[in-house]
Subunit: 396 residues, 2 copies
């Protein structure tokens, strides 16, 4: 059905066509800009490193964006209202990658960062925070900062008061405990820092979510989605990849302390908790199961909550971090299992990970789609000493 074209109709068509060309042209610019802005930021960062190397205890003035903001995309050219149809920056979580490390760990740090950047963060550009109980060397900072395409890479010093053994600890008794287990005091400082302090470090307080990374670990697979947004959208609190039993001599009095705390503060215990992960007899005794905390993707607001704050203080006051050798793994795990709902703890079975000799290697479709480099048979999930079956039975 051919309609006769009046001059006005013709004008309509010409205007429509011209408008399309005009908008398409600007859309192209917009899309190219997303890419070039990424590069220009990268150049900018490189340039800034030339002069300042990197900043110790670099505190960003920006509040990290909670929802629709992105540090890697600059604004599109002004198109009036049309720009709102064109593109919006990807939604991001208020999250950071965090690693506790020493200058002597440099090679292991490079290895971990290189892998996590390649497999995940190159696409997401989340900031990195590195913490140390001594100042990081210029060499360390230069090497590590250059590895990431993220704009924010910060290096912080841990304040003495959240690291060293408090004065009120009976050193004789602590020494006795150390001799028994043949571990150094520094290790106890680290366990205590990770249990009760890291999330209040000034470089971490701006953030809600974190991914804990350690030197010399392996990340085997691509992660093509944002695990922080995944957790946020599902009201998750704590994510893990490997679980196993703790060595009992390091925590002889931990469970009785936990039971005392719970008796005094029953209001913090979730009605839908994961006690069956921790105990084979409904809480009478601890089965030593814990999430291996060298990998954690979790919500720091949980550690900052009243429940966990009181819990940590209660543990701290017993001196168990120094008289015994309470690890942050059982402390975090017990709190997450008792004070959250069981559906708030997430097993990241699609994240291939190895620390020391223990690996979680995704299986089947996830192994293939993640282009994983691990051997699917090198997988601790259902090894005799794994606690994954205890976690699984909660979700049957």
């Amino acid at each position: 059905m051919a309609l006769p074209l009046t001059p006005a109709h013709r004008r309509s068509v010409v205007i429509a066509f011209a408008t399309v060309l005009f908008v398409c042209y600007f859309m192209t610019i917009g899309h190219e800009d997303n890419y070039s802005s990424f590069k220009s930021l990268s150049t900018q960062w490189s340039a800034s490193k030339d002069t300042t190397v990197v900043v110790d205890v670099k505190q960003s003035n920006e509040t990290p964006p909670q929802l629709a903001s992105s540090s890697e995309s600059k604004p599109l050219p002004s198109l009036g209202n049309i720009s709102s149809y064109v593109s919006s920056p990807p939604r991001r979580a208020n999250a950071t990658l965090v690693m506790l490390a020493r200058n002597t760990d440099l090679n292991g740090v490079i290895s971990s960062v290189e892998q996590l950047e390649a497999r995940f963060n190159r696409k997401f550009n989340y900031p990195w925070v590195f913490l140390n109980d001594e100042p990081f060397s210029t060499d360390f900072k230069r090497h590590v900062a250059s590895l990431s395409s993220a704009v924010d890479v910060s290096f912080g010093l841990i304040p003495r008061e959240s690291w060293v053994q408090p004065d009120w600890i009976d050193e004789g008794k602590a020494q006795e405990g150390r001799n028994k287990l043949a571990v150094f005091r520094a290790y106890r400082n680290m366990c205590r820092f990770n249990s009760g302090f890291f999330f209040n470090h000034e470089l971490l307080t701006p953030y809600k979510w974190y991914w804990r990374v350690e030197p010399d670990v392996r990340y085997y697979c691509d992660l093509d989605y944002d695990p922080f947004l995944f957790m946020e959208d599902r009201d998750k609190v704590y994510g893990f990849t490997i679980s196993m039993p703790e060595w009992e001599p390091t925590i002889p009095s931990l469970w009785s302390t936990v039971k005392n705390f719970v008796a005094e503060h029953p209001q913090y215990v979730s009605p839908d908790n994961s006690m069956d992960f921790l105990s084979d007899n409904s809480g009478d005794s601890y089965n030593m199961c814990h999430f291996w905390s060298n990998f954690e993707i979790a919500d720091m607001d949980f550690w900052r909550s009243e429940a966990y704050t009181k819990f940590f203080e209660y543990l701290e006051n017993t001196g168990g971090f120094y008289y015994e050798r309470w690890g942050d793994a059982p402390v975090h795990s017990i709190a997450a299992a008792l004070f959250t709902r069981k559906d708030q703890i997430h097993f990241f079975k699609d994240i291939g990970y190895k620390h020391a000799e223990f690996a979680h290697c995704p299986q089947g479709k996830q192994w293939r789609e993640g282009h994983c480099s691990c051997d699917p048979n090198d997988n601790f999930d259902f090894a005799q000493n794994s606690c994954l079956r205890h976690f699984m039975r909660l979700h049957d």
Copy 2:
């Protein structure tokens, strides 16, 4: 200046606005599609692997695209002529990544592929070709194929006639040569295969460009541009990262053979050659300098050219690959240096690479922008034994 809007004008504006919305909507689909098509291809590939694992001597029916075609983007939804303004698939080279490996090299192969995928090929999705003188195991193929996001990953067998020692070789004399240098016959087979045969393997004949990869090498930096297109656009032939002198006892008669060949076929020698890389006395003697051929980005059409074909045949007929231990590195390097223009050989100084104990680590801005994980001081470029200065003096 406000113009009075007639009904026809109003119609023009409404049509223009509606058209913009309509086109914007389809452009969004187009752009999302580029992403989702990547994923769907990846799924497709994973699915196909479920049933066929991977194909030995898989010969694609498609001619690899020379210019404007892309295996990772499916066609945009039909928009008539408008689609041509919207997006066109990225230009690609007719290129492949290639590795000679054995089943026992699996861990080293995984390591090299994982790095090159992470640092380069995840963005470019060039195919992989793996070659072996024995059939690859199912386990090898399953592991290696899953590492790449490329759609084409092929595993091929090297035909006996391009691998084993030819019958006309005097085995007594060859044995004597092997005893002198304490190397195995298989190593000589490999050197000869890499010198004169790989580019005519049926899995490689569809391609013009290749990037040679070896098990257990390191790729330290991001490569954000396409090195094949880079070479194609600049009429380059051969790219390297590391150069060094050959061990003289492996090639005692190679240079005199080369000189004889050149005397008989002066027409193949480029007037603007790189003799000063090979010789410190204008060709009288060989200084042993060669490009280290475990890394090569080069044009197979050069190896297939009349000049190189005649050259290889000439070398082959002397039996030097078996009576001595001529390596593919000096053979390739001498040919590239003599039969191409000196500006056709490219030093990829932005590609961080390590094989055995020799590394090329990019410096300064390239190190930072490539997010390199190498130590800039671990760099062979101007070490005493490096031949880079011989290359550099050509380009002063």
